[in-house]
Chain length 103, copies 2
DNA sequence: CCAACCGGTTTGCAGCGCAAACCAAGTTTA
DNA sequence: TAAACTTGGTTTGCGCTGCAAACCGGTTGG
């Protein structure tokens, strides 16, 4: 539970901790919103993989998924929610403490 | 594979990324060496859990396990290897970059 | 002796990430 | 107009993993 003289080890959010999802969240955090194809290209994830990660993030309430049509072709846009932004910030702080403890 | 304007997303070492093992490594990194009971108390992990994590870390070559006897009772000491220390440092740098990209 | 404890390891199972298969709808080829 | 291909995803299946519980060989206490 703790690293000697460095306080307790934080209970990291596993939904965020997973690298694929951390990547998605980091991107959404920096660009505001993104569509499926953009995320595919930036992350290098497979479509199936991206789909399941975004579903899980949406289930956790960390992102919102908006489906629409551009002309006749479907378009899905992903965006961080307030709670997602907060959770990400918390994760960042916790992980920052852990790393600092490893100087 | 990349966060816009922030370079590629690093391929994080999953052996280290797992919180339980990260905790073990962080402790060994800060105290030099530790025995089984000390790690139990510091990490809060169950014995079985600690045993399997240390086995996995040893399989990866990141720690060494030294079994001996203190009087008649067994004693197992865990210690970071050079390669473990290097891998941990690399993980720290990579994760630091990711966090920095999330400012 | 026999029970309880110490110091671990092995086992079993549930959950997860990943890739591949699938699907629906539109577009191109012929 | 029908076959083949692309786009934009979702679902399925499997192998691995983390976790808790069961186990096990000593050792100490009554």
């Amino acid at each position: 539970m703790s690293i000697p003289e460095l306080g307790p080890f934080p209970d990291l959010d596993r939904v965020i901790h997973e690298p694929g999802r951390l990547m998605i969240l980091a991107i959404l955090n920096s660009v505001g919103e993104a569509d499926f194809l953009f995320l595919i290209r930036q992350t290098g994830l497979s479509r199936g993989n991206l789909s399941s990660h975004t579903t899980k993030l949406a289930d956790a309430g960390y992102i919102e998924i908006e489906k629409s049509f551009n002309e006749r072709t479907p378009r899905t846009v992903y965006r961080l929610t307030a709670s997602g932004r907060a959770a990400l910030q918390k994760y960042r702080d916790q992980m920052g403490d852990v790393l600092a403890a490893m100087g």
